[in-house]
Amino acid sequence: MSTLRSEEMILNVGPQHPSTHGVFRLVVTIDGEEIVDADPVVGYLHRGTEKLAENLQYTQIIPYTDRLDYLASMINNYALVHAVEYALDLEIPERAEHLRIIVMELNRIASHLLFVGAYLLDLGAMSPFLYVFQERERIVQLFTEICGARLTYNYMRIGGVKWDAPPGWLQKVREFIPFMREKIRMYDDLISGNEIFLNRVKGTGVFTQEEAINHSLSGINLRSTGFNWDLRKNQPYGIYDRFDFDVVLGQKGDCFDRYWLHMLEMEQSLRIVEQAVEAIGDGLILGKVPKLIRVPAGEYYAGIEGARGELGVYIVSDGKDKPYRLKLRRPSFVNLQILRKLLIGQSMSNLIAILGAVDIVLGEVDG
């Protein structure tokens, strides 16, 4: 009796595939529905931000950071201005610091919301994706009021922020908090208890703490394994040390933990926003900054907790008004490195669940 002939098949998932979240290409070798090998190919959205930055003044780089992780531009803005401020040892006015915290945490909520929606869309449920856009729209409108743009905010400036909060804006933020809390409960009803969803994500894409650290994962991907590492707590920057919030941790390191941490972090971000809105006082929004910003010669690194992990800016300066070299540690790109290991041996339907949970934004991966 002759055995049935079977062969492996190479399948190009992307760059134009509905659930690669942009132009990400994954060359998978499959045997039936089982993945034998997976090879991520990145760079379709590469714009050379780091190289462009070498010919730009520090203020001019800020709009470029908007376009890295375009779902959390405020946090990207802050990463750059924070690195420059750290290099210049600038003092930031209190009101500016509070405004920064408020917009960053609101942006983190918006980014996590979109993760939840897009992840459920990957898993085949359409409604959550459309529901999350309602809450995100509230946040985006708040941002439009304060800085005039819906996506590419360009709000932070070295030494402060560009605009003060318009009249009534803080009240709107205050009103947003209970609204958002209610919506989080709605998502719990809609998604977190759904058996089909739980069966798909529980126990898939598991990695251990050692693996996570060896792949230098950060953010929720690292915390889902139970490793307590949040730069807002562990290396407090800005005025994060004044606020009372918890670092939420997962246990198993599977896709469900990563989904669940996104939900819990939204709640923690709301807590920070709540406290910051109460604590904000009057004052300047831009500190004393030289007209032309020159970073003293030397090398500086400042990392912050982005929406997707440790977002670091490394500046090499030769004392001019433009950086000699600017290196961005983009968390999506680093987190992507574990993907191949996670995918081998899984089925095609798990591919989407795992890729979605790693939570990449292609603008950030390709830089």
Binding site: Q60, Y131, C147, A149, T152, N154, L190, I285
Partner: protein, 192 residues
């Protein structure tokens, strides 16, 4: 087992709710004050200081100017290439006279690349149609009226000699609305 039904309950509750869809082409969105849209340009205010062209991260602004008989710089050409403009607002931030500002227009789609290259005339037209032209005009007439009123008040003061109490108040009251119009139209520049 019941999580599935909870989800079904959530979706059916949305059925009668008010829909959030925007009727976009028929109903234009109302943008907040600070909305960053297509630029407007006011040639009379420009002093050809080149700051906007220098700060632009994508080098999309090109301009030229000449000195007139009073040794003052006057703008000749002012072009913005909207193919590469990223509407980052840095040009309006550095402009010392607020001659370049941003309107709430955002529709730039077109069939040719050339038509995205907007010149001074187009930008000024945008200023008249969608920009702060009317607010500025109102402010100007208000200012003129104020000046006239103040002059009148001064005349009256001089004439009566004893009406010191009424006149400063009156002048303040007259100045107030003018200030408001100017600040509300101020889309560029730093608030401070």
């Amino acid at each position: 087992m019941f999580g599935v039904f909870k989800g079904l309950g959530v979706t059916i509750r949305q059925l009668p709710k008010k829909k959030v869809t925007l009727m976009y082409p028929e109903v234009k969105p109302v943008w907040p004050e600070r909305y960053r849209g297509i630029h407007e340009f006011i040639p009379e205010l420009c002093i050809v200081c080149n700051q906007c062209a220098r700060i632009c991260p994508t080098d999309c602004i090109s301009l030229s100017g000449t000195r007139d008989e009073n040794k003052k710089l006057r703008i000749d050409t002012y072009d913005i290439n909207f193919e590469i403009c990223i509407l980052c607002d840095l040009c309006t931030e550095v402009c010392p006279t607020e001659s370049i500002r941003m309107t709430d227009q955002f529709e730039l789609a077109s069939y040719t690349r050339d038509s995205l290259y907007k010149d001074m005339k187009w930008l000024y037209q945008n200023h008249i149609e969608h920009g702060s032209y009317q607010a500025l005009q109102a402010a100007k007439t208000e200012e003129e009226a104020n000046a006239a009123r103040e002059a009148q008040a001064a005349n009256a003061e001089a004439a009566s000699g004893a009406g010191q109490k009424a006149s400063p108040e009156e002048a303040n009251a007259a100045r107030m609305p003018a200030d408001e119009t100017v600040s509300s139209s101020g889309k560029g520049g730093q608030p401070e």
